[in-house]
């Protein structure tokens, strides 16, 4: 019985594959469209995965260049690409001035990665204000009473903390500093938020991999990386006390909880940061990336293909997103985005 069932799904699979190939060939030869996008490096891994599966399914090719959020914004404003991707949402005035529409594409999490002797991954607990004080240099040693108060059972060395940050401009830094600005007034006035900021202390690593390498090598260090890099490099990470006061573990569940705790319907152009999200189990340093498209596209077919591409990512591409440690958008949000497209993008 079970075997029969398996066989059945197998043939079903085959049939679907054949159909897909037939469709791909048919559409591919008839009218394959090449669309281009540019911007955020945060979403590059997942967009390229989606582009590959989208190409086999529809025959259309998506060419995405990860030139950074700033570059993506500039390119879509200039109209040289079909879509831009940015880690920082544009405000309403900016969007309207350039005739742009904006919607989220994927959600991810950033984790404090640390390397402290005798502390296992996930053992260390930090709060937003303590994290900000560490990155401000106001807390200089691991044995500081502020850290000890959060970790009653843990013996921390009385060693200097080495702070590691990104040396290149990045959406990860933008999201991290946005969070620190929200939880620490001192951080907000002294440093602020941006893809590159004036770091008061510490050393800079190039890219997520650079920060991961430094944290791994330097004893008593702390940095921040995208969740996937912490997992892949088996870095020590900290749990965080979130806005609701709950102790949360980084991972898909807590990232998803952050996405669910925001009332997307009440936002304008989905411009809301998931940093310090209010949900009871929400991971506090959750990040979204946004797509920018023209409201009046120069080429309607290109725009339609681009929208199809994102629809593909949110449905068929879900498992790919999960495999890369991103969080797919919740279904309710996808419906809201579709309604938003209908209202704002002519295609």
């Amino acid at each position: 019985m079970q075997q029969e069932l398996r066989l059945n799904t197998h043939t079903h699979h085959l049939g679907r594959c054949a159909l897909a190939i037939a469709l791909a060939c048919g559409i591919g030869s008839a009218h394959a469209t090449d669309i281009t996008g540019a911007g955020s490096s945060f979403v590059y891994p997942i967009l390229s995965k989606w582009a590959a599966s989208f190409a086999t399914q529809s025959g259309h090719r998506v060419n995405y260049q990860s030139i950074g959020s700033g570059g993506g914004i500039a390119q879509i404003k200039a109209g040289t690409v079909d879509f831009g991707a940015t880690d920082m949402p544009l405000d309403k005035a900016d969007l309207e001035q350039h005739g742009l529409a904006q919607f989220p594409d994927v959600i991810g999490g950033i984790v404090p990665a640390c390397n402290v002797a005798g502390v296992a991954p996930g053992q260390l607990v930090l709060s937003g204000s303590v994290l900000a004080d560490i990155f401000l240099g106001r807390i200089g040693e691991w044995s500081d009473p502020a850290i000890a108060a959060l970790n009653p059972g843990l013996t921390l060395p009385s060693a200097r903390i080495t702070v590691v940050h990104r040396s290149d401009g990045s959406g990860t830094s933008f999201n991290f500093t946005t969070y620190l600005s929200l939880v620490s007034p001192q951080w907000k006035t002294a440093v602020g938020s941006g893809s590159t900021v004036q770091w008061p202390v510490g050393i800079g690593g190039k890219g997520n991999e650079g920060v991961a390498a430094y944290v791994k090598q330097l004893p008593n260090s702390i940095g921040y990386v995208e969740y996937a890099y912490a997992v892949q490099n088996q870095l020590g990470y900290a749990r965080m006390r979130n806005a609701a006061g709950t102790l949360v573990e980084p991972g898909r569940d807590s990232f998803q909880a952050a996405a669910a705790s925001v009332d997307w319907a009440k936002t304008e152009n989905f411009a809301v940061s998931l940093a310090n999200a209010p949900g009871a189990t929400a991971w506090p340093i959750t990040a979204t990336s946004w797509v920018l498209m023209r409201r009046q596209p120069q080429d309607a077919t290109h725009a339609a293909v681009a929208l199809d591409f994102f629809r593909h990512g949110w449905t068929a591409g879900k498992s790919a997103a999960i495999a890369l440690d991103y969080v797919p958008l919740p279904d309710t949000l996808v419906q809201q985005i579709e309604a938003y497209w209908h209202m704002h993008i002519k295609s």
């Binding site: 290149d168 990045s170 004036q198």
Partner: protein
């Protein structure tokens, strides 16, 4: 069949050459017979020569001018790209150590400081070492060792800088992290320069970057030194030896003064590379906009700042990075100019003596 055809083709192609040879032989034999014709042809030849010479001179001039034009164009275009910050912040750009993209407040002091300090460390370490290598290879090394060793040193030059960066990060930085506590305990106690060697033993920082740079520029300097040391006339050296000079005295009093201009040229070739080096420095310098008194602390350099931040920079931030690029032109030019002046003064003093 095909062989026949090949022969035929060979014959055709071969034919004109002997023919021409014959014609030329005729021409060489004929001058006494018709001198008027010869003068005419000589004149024609001379005219053609001057014309060709003129063309060639022009071509050479164009080559040199092209370099100048490219250099000027690159310098001016970076200045133009950075005009917003260069004009907007004025001297504050040179004098301030702030680098704050959030408030768009830019100062180049930290990157300039890092660039100069790391290059200086690199020179201090590389020049004596290169001098030793070159002397050994030209004077004291057994002949069977000269080839392999020379090649090994030159091989260092062909390694891409990203490899030096990765080697620096994964192999040399952990090594330095073990050495630095010892440096702090010994050199850190010295008066005056003690403060240079104090700080947390991160393994990366100005000193590490300087040492990696020294390894990178070593082959350039030693290759130039080796070449020019070989060009020192043997009579000079033998004469010195005959007067009872030791190898060191020959090196210091004969070889070095004889080759001084070229040696200084080689050193500045290495310095030029050290000033502009990007990738290797980015990996081991720490990328922190700070000016600290200790060589063990992280810093940043002009080139690595640009490489790090250019990708995501827009507006004023991009302008600031281009202004930084222009500054690198200026710094490099100033350093080379200083070298030239130094060389000229040394030559003049030599002349007076």
């Amino acid at each position: 069949m095909s062989g026949d055809r090949a022969n035929m083709r060979y014959g055709h192609r071969g034919d004109p050459v002997p023919g021409r040879r014959v014609a030329r032989a005729d021409g060489a034999a004929s001058p006494p017979a018709a001198s008027a014709v010869a003068t005419c042809s000589h004149e024609r030849r001379a005219r053609a020569d001057t014309r060709n010479d003129r063309w060639f001179r022009g071509l050479l001039q164009a080559c040199a001018l092209l370099v100048l034009a490219v250099l000027l164009g690159a310098a001016l275009s970076t200045a133009w790209g950075g005009r917003e910050v260069l004009l907007g912040q004025g001297w504050r750009f040179l004098g301030s150590a702030q680098w704050d993209p959030v408030t768009n407040n830019y100062g180049a002091l930290a990157p300039v400081f890092g660039t100069l300090v790391t290059s200086l460390i690199a020179l201090l370490l590389a020049v004596p070492l290169a001098f030793g290598i070159a002397l050994f290879l030209t004077r004291t090394a057994p002949p069977w060792l000269r080839g392999p060793l020379g090649t090994a040193v030159e091989l260092l030059a062909s390694i891409p800088s990203i490899i030096y960066g990765m080697w620096g990060l994964f192999a040399f930085v952990p090594f330095m992290a073990r050495v630095e506590p010892w440096l702090s305990a010994s050199l850190g106690r010295l008066p005056l320069i003690g403060c240079w060697f104090q700080g947390p033993p991160l393994g990366l920082g100005l000193l590490t970057a300087g040492i990696v740079l020294a390894v990178m520029i070593l082959p350039f300097i030693s290759a130039v030194m080796r070449e020019v040391f070989q060009a020192v006339p043997a009579q000079l050296i033998e004469a010195a030896h005959a007067l009872g000079a030791t190898t060191w005295e020959v090196a210091w009093q004969i070889v070095l003064p004889y080759t001084r201009a070229a040696v200084i040229g080689g050193i500045f070739l290495g310095l030029g590379r050290a000033l502009g080096e990007t990738m290797a420095v980015t990996f081991v310098l720490g990328n922190s906009y700070a000016i600290s008194g200790s060589l063990l602390m992280p810093g940043t350099s002009i080139a690595s700042s640009i490489a790090n931040e250019f990708n995501e920079a827009v507006g004023t931030h991009r302008s600031a990075l281009l202004a930084l690029a222009f500054l690198l032109f200026v710094v490099t030019f100033a350093v080379l100019l200083a070298a030239r002046l130094l060389l000229r003064r040394m030559t003049r003093r030599e002349g007076l003596r």
